[in-house]
Symmetry: C2
Subunit: 459 residues, 2 copies
C-alpha cells in the first residue's frame, strides 16, 4: 500500500493503530481454517467514529475491508481473501452499559464472549449463547456468523439475543438498528439482516444484547445407547414431553472411540451413541424432577445405562467426555476439518449413516458429534495434510457431506457460517432465486463491493 495512504490511516487511528510489517500482517492472515491470505494493512480502531472515518476513506479508494474479531472462525470469513484492510476489533472491547432493570447490555464488538459472560454473571445475569470458542471469540464475530453452542437448544442462538446493532456502512455512515424494546415491528428487520452476514454488508461496532436471569440449578445425565436410532428417538421423545433441556449433545461411536483412545474416561466402546443431557432452571425440585423424567425416557427408548451427575464434580466429569472430543481428534490425526451441517432432527440417524458410508468409501475417519437437539452435527474429517492423497479426498468428502445434508432436508451450516469454505455449495443449498435476491441486497448496500469481498455469495 502506498505510504501516502498509510499516513492517512495513521492520522485517523494513530501510528500504533496501523500495522504494516510483514510479520504483523502474517498474524492477521488466517483463522481457524487452512485459508491464508495477507492483508495489505491492519487497522486497530478504538471507536465507532474511527471505523466510520476508515470506511469513508476505504470507500473513496475502493479498498476491500475485512472485519476481524479474534480470528477463531471456522469458515475463513475473517481471512482477507482479496487483500486490502483487516479491521480488528481488538481495541473495542468495552461494556458500555449494563442495564440491570431491562436486562440488557450494550457492548463494543470486540469484547470476548466469555469476558462479557463473566461480567454479567457477577450481577446474577446470564448471556446464554455458548460457542465452544467463547474464551477466544468476540461478540462481534459471534454476531457476524450468528454463532450457536450447546445451550442454544433451550436458549436460542446469538441472533436471538441481539436487540440492536451499531453498524458502519461501506460509505462510513453509521446505522443504528433496534433498541431496548422487546418487540419492534417498525420497518424491515435490519438487525437480523446484519446478523449472520459475515461482514459483507457493514462493520458491526456495537451490540445491544438481551440477558436473562442466571439459572440457579443445573442437573446433568449421560445416556449410553447401543443403537444410534434409539438415541435419536430419545431426543424427539424428550421434546415431545414438553421438556426442553438446556443441552442435548450427541457423540457417535467414532467420537467415543477417539475420546477413549486418548483420554481413557471409561466410556463404553460397544455402543453406537451417547447423549449428554443437561436441565437447568430456578426451581431445584422441578429441575430434579425434569432430569428424572429424562432418565426414564432414555431408559424407555433403549438407553442401556443412564448416569446422573450427583455433584458438581461428577457433572464436570460427564462433560469431560464432550470437552475431550476436539483434543482427542488432534491426537488421532495431524489434521481435521470440522463441518457444521444441520438437518431436521428426525434425519439425524439417516445423516450419520450416510456419513459412515462416505467415510468407508474414502478410507478416512469421520467423527460425528454435535447438538442433537437442534439437529446440528459436526462431522470431523481426520487426515494428514502432508499426504497429497488425503488432501484431494478431503474436499470431495466435505462436498459429499454437504450433499448428504441437503438430501435429507438439511443445510450447510448451523453456526460456523459460509465464509469461503462453503461458498461453492451455497447455490445448491439455497437455489438460484435466493442467491439472486441476496446479491441484489448486497449490491444495494455495498455497491462498490468493498465489504469482505469473496465471501458468502458466489460470484
Amino acid at each position: 500500500m502506498e505510504r501516502k495512504t498509510i499516513k492517512k490511516f495513521e492520522a485517523l487511528v494513530g501510528e500504533d493503530g496501523v500495522l504494516s510489517t510483514p510479520e504483523d500482517l502474517a498474524v492477521y492472515s488466517y483463522d481457524g481454517t487452512f485459508a491464508d491470505r495477507r492483508p495489505d494493512l491492519v487497522l486497530l480502531p478504538s471507536s465507532t467514529e474511527q471505523v466510520s472515518r476508515i470506511l469513508e476513506l476505504a470507500f473513496a479508494e475502493k479498498m476491500p475491508v475485512t472485519a476481524r474479531g479474534m480470528g477463531s472462525g471456522l469458515a475463513a470469513a475473517s481471512v482477507p481473501s482479496e487483500g486490502g484492510i483487516v479491521l480488528s476489533s481488538a481495541r473495542m472491547n468495552r461494556i458500555i452499559e449494563l442495564d440491570e432493570e431491562n436486562y440488557m447490555v450494550l457492548v463494543e464488538a470486540g469484547i470476548v464472549t466469555a469476558d462479557l459472560q463473566a461480567a454479567v454473571e457477577k450481577r446474577g445475569l446470564f448471556y446464554p449463547p455458548d460457542p465452544s470458542s467463547n474464551r477466544q471469540s468476540t461478540i462481534g464475530g459471534n454476531i457476524a456468523c450468528n454463532a450457536g453452542g450447546p445451550r442454544c437448544l433451550k436458549y436460542g442462538v446469538t441472533g436471538d439475543y441481539v436487540m440492536g446493532l451499531t453498524v458502519v456502512l461501506p460509505d462510513g455512515k453509521i446505522l443504528k438498528t433496534g433498541g431496548k424494546t422487546i418487540k419492534d415491528v417498525v420497518g424491515y428487520d435490519l438487525t437480523s439482516l446484519f446478523t449472520g452476514s459475515e461482514g459483507t454488508l457493514g462493520i458491526i461496532t456495537e451490540a445491544l444484547l438481551k440477558l436473562v436471569a442466571k439459572p440457579a440449578s443445573v442437573k446433568t445425565v449421560r445416556a449410553d445407547f447401543p443403537r444410534l436410532d434409539d438415541a435419536s428417538g430419545t431426543v424427539t421423545a424428550i421434546l415431545k414431553r414438553g421438556i426442553v433441556p438446556a443441552t442435548i449433545e450427541l457423540m457417535d461411536e467414532t467420537a467415543i472411540a477417539c475420546i477413549e483412545e486418548s483420554a481413557h474416561l471409561g466410556l463404553p466402546l460397544d455402543i453406537e451413541a451417547l447423549l449428554i443431557i443437561e436441565s437447568d432452571g430456578f426451581d431445584e425440585r422441578a429441575v430434579a424432577r425434569e432430569i428424572e423424567t429424562i432418565t426414564k425416557i432414555c431408559r424407555d427408548h433403549g438407553a442401556r445405562e443412564v448416569t446422573l451427575a450427583g455433584s458438581e464434580q461428577e457433572r464436570s466429569r460427564l462433560w469431560s467426555a464432550r470437552r475431550a472430543v476436539s483434543p482427542s481428534l488432534a491426537r488421532k490425526a495431524p489434521n481435521k476439518l470440522g463441518e457444521d451441517i444441520t438437518v431436521p432432527r428426525s434425519a439425524i440417524p439417516e445423516t450419520i449413516r450416510r456419513i459412515k458410508q462416505i467415510s468407508s468409501e474414502h478410507g478416512l475417519p469421520i467423527v460425528v458429534f454435535g447438538h442433537a437437539g437442534d439437529g446440528n452435527l459436526h462431522p470431523n474429517i481426520l487426515f494428514d495434510l502432508r499426504n497429497p492423497d488425503h488432501r484431494a479426498k478431503v474436499d470431495i468428502i466435505a462436498g459429499q457431506i454437504f450433499k448428504a445434508a441437503l438430501a435429507v432436508g438439511g443445510t450447510l451450516s448451523g453456526e460456523h457460517g459460509v465464509g469461503t469454505l462453503k461458498r461453492s455449495y451455497v447455490t445448491e443449498a439455497l437455489g438460484s432465486i435466493s442467491i439472486d435476491v441476496q446479491k441484489r441486497i448486497k449490491a444495494a448496500l455495498d455497491p462498490a463491493n468493498i465489504m469482505n469481498p469473496g465471501k458468502v455469495l458466489p460470484d
Copy 2:
C-alpha cells in the same frame, strides 16, 4: 380496469376468482382502521403458482398489488392505498403438512391462526403466538406484520416461529427461504427480512412454522396495585427471579374504570393498575410453586390483593377483565384509535404518566392496557368521529403518544406494524440512515414499486 386485462386474470384464476363489481370491491377496501380505498380488482388465487402468474402479469403492467388476509390489520397495511389489485389469500388456507416428528407445520398463508392452533392442539402440539385477532386473522397477515399477543412474553412473537417461507417476488419468481433445520446460517436471513415487511417486498404464500408441546398445566393470578410504579416494579422483580410467566398483562386505572362501567366485574376502582399473570408448563407442581412465588413477589412489591384462580372457571373470570377491555371502550365512546407503542420495560410508569398528561391536555380519555412484560402498551384514544374537534385532536394525540414513546427509548409499534398510519413517524423513529438502507432494499427487491406501494417507508 380494462376488460381485456380482467380477462387475462380470469384465465389465470377462473371467473369466480376475479371480483370487480363496486359492491365486491367495497368489501376489500378497508381493514381494522378508518382507512378506506377501493382496489381496481380483487383476485382470489388458490395456489402459489397462480400468485406467481398474477405477479408476472402485474409486473409487466406495473400494477400495484396489495396482499390481504382477513383485513383485521390495525395499521391499514392491507388497504390498497394506491388502488390496483388486492390479492386475497382466502382460498389458500390449507395445512399442507403436519410434521409431528420435527414439530413443524407447513401451511398456506390464508389459514386463520385459530384454525391452525386448533388443528395442531388436537395432536398435543402448540402454536403459541396469540394475537387477539387470532379467530379472524391469518398466518400470512400475522407474519406480514410480525404479530404478537399476550403469550409472547414467554413464547416470543410470530417471527420466532417462522422457519421458512414461500414468497412470490414482484416479478413472479418463487423464492423459498429457510427449512426444517432449527439452526441455519447459510446466507442472509431472508426469512426475517420478509417477516414484518407488510407485503412490500413480496407475497408470502406458504409458511413453515415451528411448534412446541402443548403445556399441561396453567395457573393465573390477578394482582391489584394501588400504585402504578409498584405494578411496573413487580414485573421487573418477577423476571429478575428467573421466572418468565406466559403472560403479564397490565391494565391502568382508566382501563379498569372503563371495564367496571360497562361490565361490573367488581374490580377495585381505587387502584392505579392491575396485573394478570399466567404461568404454564409441564410440571404441575412447578407451575403451582411458580405462581406462589409470583404471588409473594406481587405482595412484597405493593400489591394490595392477589387473587389466585383456583379452577378453570375462576381463571376464565380473571381473564374476563382483560377480554372486557375492548368491548367496554366501544360502550364508552363511539370511536377509538388503538395504538401499539413499545418501550423499555423500566419506562412503563413514565410512559403512562406522559400519556395521562396528553389525555388531560386534550380532554379526551386515553385508556392504557397491554403486555407489560414486553413493555408493549396499547393506549386507546376514545372519541367521536362525528365531532370535528375530536377528529382534529386524535391525530395530534397519536403523534404525541409516538413522541412520548420515542422519548423514553421506545418505538411506534410492537405488533400492529406501520402500514400508512405510522408512516409519517418512521423517519423520526429510525433515523434517516436506516430509512435510506430500507429504501435501497425495497428498490433492490421491488424496482417497479408494485408491492403494496405507499406503505411502511416514507416517500
